[in-house]
């Protein structure tokens, strides 16, 4: 199973800004359990959606050479519930980027109205080893994953 929580990118400015949309639909199993008879898009999955939007933006900024891992959710706020049939729009901006990490600011909109904010710090884990070793291959941006990006019109490694 692929853990993809965005449907497509609608804007992508390398190293600066990305926007992605996600349609919330009752075809998704999880909504039937969250909650029975009252389906609501889980906030944690909206954080994941923002992490994917911002994480791909951060990864692309360094040609997908770094292993970009969510290190910290600095802030996550949501103003209301999101129901099936609504469309989420994740907008992520890179605030700072260094060899070790990146910081992004994110806004989420529902059908054009501001829903909330999700600000994230990502670690480029190979540069934060602290004595640990990670596999050499990039297990974050795998070949499968990069090819998937083509469907979003984001070039993998700026091919």
């Amino acid at each position: 199973m692929r853990w993809i929580w965005i449907d497509k990118f609608t804007a992508f400015e390398s190293g600066r800004y990305a926007a992605a949309i996600k349609n919330v639909t009752l075809a998704e199993d999880h909504l039937h359990d969250h909650f029975p008879a009252y389906p609501v898009m889980p906030a944690c999955l909206m954080i994941e959606g923002m992490a994917q939007t911002a994480g791909i933006l951060v990864g692309e900024a360094r040609d997908f050479k770094e292993k970009v891992i969510l290190a910290k959710v600095k802030r996550a706020s949501f103003l209301r519930e999101v129901r099936p049939g609504e469309q989420l729009r994740y907008e992520a901006t890179i605030e700072q980027v260094s060899p070790e990490a990146a910081s992004t600011a994110g806004k989420i909109y529902v059908d054009g109205e501001l829903l909330g904010n999700v600000d994230i710090v990502f670690s480029h884990i190979d540069n934060n080893l602290s004595g640990l070793t990670f596999p050499k291959e990039n297990f974050v941006f795998t070949e499968d994953f990069k090819s998937l990006l083509h469907t979003y019109n984001v070039s993998a490694g700026r091919a």
Partner: protein, 133 residues
């Protein structure tokens, strides 16, 4: 224009309140980031970014924190403690550590106690010098 140490302290305090979710009366000069304020290693990435933004400075890796070559070098570490040479390397690399913290660490230079050098005052010392440069 250089900013005063007091002003740096106030702004560092704000950074730590936001980054660590601590109360302002917890952010004291001698409070240690990990021990007293509950910072985890991942918080340091966040704190460094926030300091860079707040003070318009660049903090190169290994400048604020102990150098990477310290802990895994047998010349610097013996049985979990810093050698004379290691201690010197640490002092050279971290002139911004508070004198009282460094003196205390020297009494028992156990590398597990190195995080105790990361105090609020140490950050204030570092930023004050950096912002004046």
């Amino acid at each position: 224009m250089a900013i005063s140490r007091d002003e740096v302290f106030e702004r560092v305090k704000e950074v730590l309140i936001d980054a660590l979710g601590v109360d302002d009366d917890e952010v004291l000069e001698g409070a240690t980031l990990m021990g007293d304020l509950g910072a985890e290693s991942i918080d340091f990435l966040d704190i460094v970014f926030r300091l860079e933004k707040t003070f318009s400075i660049k903090i190169p890796r290994g400048e604020l924190s102990p150098p990477d070559d310290l802990q895994n070098n047998p010349e610097y570490v013996e049985s979990g403690k810093l050698t004379e040479k290691g201690l010197q390397r640490l002092k050279d690399a971290m002139p911004h550590a508070r004198d009282e913290d460094m003196k205390k660490f020297e009494e028992d230079p156990d590398i597990a106690k190195m995080p105790d050098l990361f105090s609020v005052g140490m950050i204030v010392n570092y930023v004050t010098k950096k912002a004046a440069a």
